[in-house]
Symmetry: C2
Subunit: 351 residues, 2 copies
């Protein structure tokens, strides 16, 4: 009786939060029964179930997560580790993972990694320190040999989004970047372009390498020898695309088409073209890769490859959850891509 007053009140600063015991006592049942009710387990009479629910509501009872986690040996926490090249990309990644997590009780913690060196050797401790049940990792860090090895030997459940399966077969969700880049370059070649340039993404990034490979293969298939001067290194950022665009477009014998390894860099190239008053697509074609929200926000809207980042993240979360709950690991999952034709690429100029 004397203890009831503070408990019956609202939670928070006033009084203490009600515990399973308070509810049990108030409902006249054992704590196990309360536990059953709040975990939707069978073997409780409907009548009692209802009663317990009501008492719980009245006492404003919410199961203590830490206690539950401790007893269950599971935190229901998933970590998403990413390096931040593109806001639009990151957002899709998050939303995709979250979509799969919805309704499962799992939550998403974000870990943007600014410098890969910082996380090398610290990844697993970070995971432990946060009590994560598993992690989703993105390139390039997920293909970093040190980090990958650390992850593998820790036996922590993890999946990679767009990770390199040739480095290790451990779960990764990809698209066929090489084929996609080939298709994209081929499309541009079909428009009559002969001088194509590419802005390459971060070299340590599997996709960047494969996209370059597909680009070169398309050129060779068309009987064109790739020229080093037309292959500029970028870093998947708008700024790097802008700089690459300026370099490529500044001299007389400039390319008539530029492929960028992602949309952000393509937007940068577009910006450079505008600065130099080069009309796109009349005098210059520019194409991107990913089809993030940005692709439709620039002018002209980007012809690009749609990489289903949202679905890839969703799938990755799916694989991870299975791995956490059943221990079953998956190999590479490959999703399909699409060539999205908008207005940033047109026929090669005749001049």
């Amino acid at each position: 009786m004397a203890k009831e007053a503070p408990i019956a009140g609202m939670t928070g600063k006033i009084g203490k939060r009600a515990t399973i015991r308070d509810v049990a006592k108030a409902a006249g049942v054992s704590i196990k029964t309360v536990s059953r009710v709040f975990n939707d387990e069978p073997n409780v009479r409907e009548e009692i179930r209802e009663k317990v629910r009501q008492v719980g509501q009245k006492l404003n009872y919410h199961p203590n997560v830490a206690a539950r986690n401790l007893a269950r040996r599971r935190s229901h926490l998933i970590g998403l580790f990413f390096e931040n090249p593109s806001p639009a990309y990151v957002t899709e990644l998050q939303m995709g993972a979250l979509k799969r997590l919805r309704g499962t009780g799992y939550r998403l913690l974000i870990f943007p990694v600014e410098d890969r060196a910082d996380i090398r050797g610290a990844m697993v401790s970070t995971v432990y320190a946060s009590g994560l049940d598993g992690v989703i990792v993105t390139p390039p860090m997920c293909d970093d040999p040190v980090i990958l090895e650390e992850l593998l030997s820790s036996h922590l459940p993890f999946v990679r989004v767009a990770g390199d399966s040739s480095i290790h077969s451990a779960g990764t969700v990809v698209i066929d970047d090489e084929a996609a880049a080939f298709d994209l370059a081929e499309y541009v070649l079909r428009l009559g372009h002969r001088r194509l340039a590419i802005v390459i993404g971060d070299e340590t990034h599997r996709s960047a390498r494969l996209r370059l490979k597909g680009f070169r293969r398309a050129l060779r298939t068309a009987g064109i020898e790739p020229q080093p001067a037309l292959e500029i290194q970028g870093a998947f950022t708008f700024q790097s695309g802008l700089e690459a665009g300026r370099r490529l477009l500044h001299h007389a014998n400039r390319p008539t088409a530029i492929l960028a390894s992602n949309d952000d860099m393509a937007a940068g190239v577009l910006q450079a073209a505008h600065e130099l008053r080069i009309p796109v697509p009349q005098k210059l074609s520019v194409v991107g890769f990913d089809d993030t929200a940005l692709a439709r926000m620039v002018w002209p809207q980007l012809t690009t490859i749609r990489q289903p980042i949202f679905e890839m993240a969703e799938r990755a979360a799916d694989i991870l959850l299975r791995q956490i709950e059943t221990g079953i690991t998956s190999e590479t999952a490959q999703l399909s891509y699409d060539l999205v034709i908008r207005s940033s690429a047109g026929e090669a100029p005749t001049s």
Copy 2:
């Protein structure tokens, strides 16, 4: 002895994770001493401290987070609730909050809210279900009377980013949106424009209302009566800006300048102008608001108001942490804004 083998090995599936007891036994001390060492508490001989550290390392010991949370009554988890109008905005918000959290042991959980109705009445349960120590909330949901009331009566630590202090004085970090919009409109008026239009953001959003107010005040100050036809409702999305732009620019007597309530909508207006081959800024001036990354990615680059979203989130996290740890609540904190002049606004056309 018999139990040592699996413990000494690596963590994960093989054997069980080492506990504080394993370390204590192996180091020949009590668990309390181990606890002291791993919490950097005093009263342990340096020699013993070192020994315990070594044993911990050898056994690959990592304190169990759930157990620690349970005993300490703290999860060290912060929730960030946001509605997703703009990827660039959301990313900055996250990075800002995370910057303050770095090194504190607190982690960030993200809760994108698609439909505010879903979260009404469910906010607090979500917080409890996730065991959060506190939350950062953004508009418009943080100014929703139902949600705000729920939050207040739960006594959960929370802060708002850009929340309306006139609805409630509870902690919120803002800029003076009204003054900023006034300054921006005044800048445009100084360029000679007389027919100014505005694309308004989501009405339930405090900033949207204040920006509209500032815009109108600037017009009146210049002796111009605001016209309803030149005030178009948007939703803070690129798409809504595009549609608003098309409507505004389609008829003959179109405005010579358009203010958008955020950069995403300004980018949409820009897109509409390009579609209609209206040169910006020669024939039309367009200005944004926020100065997110997008402002520099479009052409021409946006003249806009820099709202320090990153710093606001950082500050919000700071206030929240103080509230969690000391119980001290803060009132409104106001940061300063800047007018950022780029190239999307120019002198009014003479024709």
